[in-house]
């Protein structure tokens, strides 16, 4: 490498950008896996996070699904929380002000069941200087269009993103569902509709049955699979959508070790989100920041940005 030798781990530059979103380091907490962040400040050094993606927020508070909501599977878990959240207004009034004390960038994860709901959410978020970016959870069924998920249809997705784009100047990140034949087609539609970035992946639809009771392990029968089990799928989708869309991508799915972070950056991610691993160990995200710094130092890599998309392919691949 041509760069001057690094004198210490502190000399490593971890800053990355995801489009216009600038992050002190590429490690964020994933939506729905670390609440609104603040609640867990006693368990994890929030100030070290590159960013915090909030629990999914809707216009009105949601109570969520009845139990059972989770079960463990091989190297992963299924969840069907039912998008329980405090609602956008309470978030803006009661949580956001305190989050301002942390250098971590705040990304709000938004979802609705009609485009109007998404637009209204974006309008409420737009004037808030404390919010650095919007992540759209599009793995929700559009109630007006017969319940097809927004994220499963390029046209539906394109219309949705266009309408939100019209009301916000904040970096707009579309979170991709892995449960589609061609994620790249959805990614292209997002780009054409004005999205600034993508995040991938949300959970895969799965199921488990308790053979003693013969009942599904989740009240809702099916739920979302997350954790290390899904990492290979996530990595493939990040690789594909980064190449197909040219948009910056935030990689998500089973990230737990610094090697996982490097894999996603090499595959084309500009940053990553850590989800299920936080349940196992709330300090995972902060640990990864330190481990990444140390690893790049040891490998003589001056900036995390050097890794992005750096996977070496045979000519023609």
């Amino acid at each position: 490498m041509a760069s001057p030798p690094l004198t210490s781990p502190q000399a490593v530059d971890l800053a990355v950008r995801v489009g216009t979103l600038e992050l002190g380091n590429p490690i964020l907490s994933a939506s729905g896996t670390f609440g609104y962040g603040l609640e867990f400040a006693h368990l994890a050094p929030l100030e070290q996070f590159g960013g915090i993606v909030t629990k999914g927020l809707s216009l009105e508070p949601l109570l969520g699904n009845p139990p059972h909501r989770i079960c463990e599977t091989a190297s992963g878990m299924l969840n069907s929380i039912g998008l329980q959240n405090i609602g956008i207004r309470r978030f803006l009034d009661q949580v956001l002000p305190d989050l301002a004390d942390y250098p971590a960038k705040v990304v709000v994860n938004l979802f609705g069941t009609t485009p109007d709901e998404y637009v209204r959410l974006a309008e409420l978020v737009e004037p808030q200087p404390g919010i650095a970016a919007i992540e759209l959870n599009v793995s929700c069924p559009n109630v007006k269009r017969g319940g097809i998920q927004f994220g499963h249809d390029p046209e539906l997705l394109g219309d949705l993103v266009r309408r939100i784009r019209a009301v916000t100047g904040k970096p707009l990140i579309v979170k991709l569902s892995p449960n589609v034949t061609t994620p790249a087609a959805i990614a292209l539609a997002a780009r054409q509709a004005g999205a600034d970035a993508l995040s991938a992946i949300n959970t895969l639809v799965g199921m488990a049955i308790d053979t003693r009771t013969r009942r599904p392990r989740l009240h809702t029968v099916k739920g979302g699979l997350s954790g290390p089990a899904i990492k290979p799928i996530a990595l493939r989708i990040v690789f594909d959508v980064a190449r197909a869309s040219g948009l910056p991508v935030i990689g998500i799915g089973g990230i737990e070790t610094v090697d996982d972070v490097l894999e996603f950056l090499l595959a084309g991610a500009s940053a990553v989100q850590v989800g299920t691993a936080l349940f196992r160990d709330p300090r995972t995200a902060a640990r990864l920041v330190g481990d990444l710094r140390q690893r790049l130092f040891e490998d003589g890599i001056a900036s995390a940005r050097e890794l992005i998309g750096g996977v070496l392919l045979e000519p023609g691949a």
């Binding site: 109570l63 969520g64 699904n65 989770i70 091989a74 969840n79 929380i81 329980q84 160990d281 709330p282």
Partner: protein, 264 residues
């Protein structure tokens, strides 16, 4: 709320007999005080099988050579509990805790502690606290057979030291009274023996305990069990249907709930 995430050295694993076992862990000196009914999330093995930690009531606490010790009472069921049982002296177990809201002792009066199998794990510290406070209590300890009443003698000593007794109940009659522990409870409630009831065990048992106590106008608390993804409020996986129609979190709002908080 002081919660720590610490590596604990295994001091010993004892079988009572299997599937029941106790494991003693040496914690760092500054490990916080544990309230009766609180729990820890334990990671027995650095690998990914299982991936998530498992919740364990803090069965007992002690101090030796200045270092606090935690004792957990486990029952081997699946991957998590068997991993923990397989630890050896000198191994490390990672422990996040203490977690949750424990039993509230105020106004307990003469109490019934109703344990179902390994549910007794949540009740020993409570028995100690009642004993220390000079409150009388009985321990109703139920199981299928004698072996399911692991560490029953510890409860017997504490109860008799506090002017109460251990009532052992087994379905097959191999120890103590034959039948269900809730039948023993019902008899005592009918005789107005207790001012309060504390329980931990299988959910159907606890629901029955709560119904019986409520019918007799006796207040009480239950230490609930739900699947837990994190134990500290992040995953929202541990929903408990609350009487008010909302969902409480077992790990944060509980695991101990008043009988009348829960929509059983």
């Amino acid at each position: 709320m002081a919660t720590r995430d610490v590596a604990c050295r295994v001091l010993g694993v004892e079988c009572h007999p299997l599937p029941y076992y106790t494991i003693s862990l040496e914690t760092p000196p500054d490990f916080p005080e544990v309230a009766p009914g609180q729990f820890v999330m334990a990671l027995a093995d650095p690998g990914r099988d299982p991936y998530l930690r498992r919740a364990f009531s803090v069965f007992d606490v002690s101090r030796a050579e200045g270092l606090p010790r935690l004792e957990l009472l486990g029952k081997v069921i699946g991957r998590g509990t068997s991993r923990l049982a397989a630890r050896r002296v000198g191994d490390n177990v990672h422990v996040l805790g203490p977690l949750g809201r424990g039993f509230r002792l105020e106004g307990a009066g003469r109490a019934a502690l109703v344990a179902g199998g390994v549910g007794s794990a949540a009740l020993l510290l409570l028995a100690r606290a009642l004993h220390a406070a000079g409150s009388a209590f009985d321990v109703l300890y139920g199981g299928r057979r004698a072996d399911d009443l692991a560490c029953a003698d510890r409860f017997a000593d504490l109860a008799s030291g506090a002017g109460g007794e251990l009532v052992a109940v087994t379905e097959d009659g191999s120890r103590g009274r034959r039948g269900l522990v809730t039948e023993a409870l019902e008899d005592g409630l009918a005789a107005s023996r207790w001012h309060s009831v504390f329980t931990c065990g299988p959910t159907p048992m606890m629901a029955r305990v709560a119904a019986l106590a409520t019918r007799h106008g006796v207040p009480g608390q239950a230490a609930l069990e739900t699947p837990m993804g994190c134990g500290y409020g992040a995953c929202l996986g541990c929903a408990v249907p609350h009487r008010d129609g909302r969902f409480a979190l077992c790990c944060q709002d509980g695991p101990v709930f008043d009988f009348d908080e829960v929509s059983w």
